[in-house]
């Protein structure tokens, strides 16, 4: 067992502990903070798995932007979760059954890191070999060339999705002032918040 494997197991254990903590904790503020920690650990693990591009996107998004957005939502709503009256038995059964089915499915998968796995052999020549030729050696980062060139249509679609989501948030949340003036007690509200 080498050093990296040890780090691997350590990060995975921390990830599992954080996920369980999120499930158990009642205070929403704490849950949001744990989610941030979870994202950051996920980013650390992605770095171990040789995907630096994804790792620092996840670090900036998960630990930065989405945590801030969730905290902003908490400030606009409430910080405590009401104790649930639902019994946890049925969800637990569903989760255990789904999980065991998925684990049964993994038994047919090649082990992690197997160079002969279909993921690594089905593209022939692989993007790595193709990129070296097509990009005339100017683009050493294959992730960028696949993202912007080989899968350019896909990325255009993703950018449009982000664009649409941004517009939708704008439509839902913009200009709270205008709505409030329609309410009869707008003057009091402005006084108490201003």
């Amino acid at each position: 067992m080498d050093m990296l494997e040890l780090v691997d197991i350590f990060v995975l254990a921390l990830l599992a502990a954080t996920a369980v903590a999120v499930a158990r904790v009642r205070n929403l503020w704490a849950a949001v903070m744990f989610t941030g920690i979870y994202s950051f650990l996920g980013a650390a693990w992605m770095l171990i798995l040789d995907a630096p591009d994804v790792a620092f996107t996840e670090a900036a998004v998960g630990a930065g932007i989405s945590t801030v957005l969730m905290l902003g939502t908490l400030a606009l709503t409430s910080r405590e979760e009401k104790p649930s009256k639902k019994s946890p038995v049925l969800p637990l059964i569903v989760v255990v059954v789904t999980g065991s089915t998925l684990i049964y499915g993994t038994l047919d998968m090649p082990r992690v890191g197997d160079p002969s796995a279909p993921v690594h052999t089905r593209m022939n020549p692989s993007y790595i070999e193709k990129s070296e030729h097509d990009m005339h050696g100017e683009m050493p980062n294959v992730v960028t060339s696949v993202l912007a060139s080989y899968r350019g249509y896909d990325t255009l679609g993703e950018t449009t999705v982000i664009f649409t989501a941004g517009i939708a948030v704008l439509l839902i949340l913009r200009k709270p002032g205008k709505r409030k003036t329609e309410l009869p007690n707008s003057a009091e509200q402005k006084g108490s918040h201003g």
């Binding site: 995975l12 990830l15 599992a16 996920a19 999120v22 499930a23 929403l28 849950a31 989610t35 979870y38 994202s39 996920g42 693990w45 040789d50 995907a51 630096p52 591009d53 996107t57 996840e58 998004v61 998960g62 989405s66 957005l69 969730m70 939502t73 606009l76 409430s78 979760e81 009401k82 649930s84 009256k85 639902k86 969800p91 989760v95 999980g99 998925l102 993994t106 038994l107 998968m109 082990r111 992690v112 890191g113 160079p115 796995a117 993007y127 790595i128 990129s131 050493p140 980062n141 294959v142 992730v143 696949v146 993202l147 896909d154 993703e158 999705v161 982000i162 989501a165 839902i172 949340l173």
Partner: protein
């Protein structure tokens, strides 16, 4: 199925356990923000599953180095690309969900699923 090939699947199993934790939060909790948090955890776990699949033994990040040997193995760039865009799209859609939650709270005065359902039936 010997012990070595089972140990090679260990990472997948942990990722599945993480996914199921997120799934449990989504279906067991009535609080809308908690549900979004659960979806987030589920989502990150799926990202980890993809990245795990893209990894290769003795590999390195998919950035071609001039100095490397000819047979240098690189991890699969395709899984990185897919997840890279998925992360940013994910945060945009999460923001949309949170915006809807803020509006629900403003109109219903609650972010608990059961209370909202009762208010809906009364009206």
């Amino acid at each position: 199925m010997d012990i070595n090939s089972l140990a090679g699947l260990f990472n997948y199993w942990i990722v599945i356990v993480l996914m199921m934790t997120g799934f449990y939060i989504v279906i067991a909790r009535g609080n809308l923000i908690k549900t979004v948090i659960g979806l987030n955890i589920f989502q990150i776990s799926v990202f980890l599953l993809y990245i795990t699949m893209g990894r290769v033994d003795q590999g390195t990040a998919p950035i071609i180095q001039e100095a490397a040997q000819a047979d240098q193995a690189y991890s699969n760039p395709l899984s990185s690309v897919l997840i890279l865009t998925a992360i940013v799209v994910g945060v945009a859609t999460t923001a949309l969900a949170l915006a809807l939650i803020v509006r629900i709270r403003e109109d219903y005065g609650s972010i608990e699923e059961d209370e909202i359902l009762i208010l809906d039936r009364e009206s």
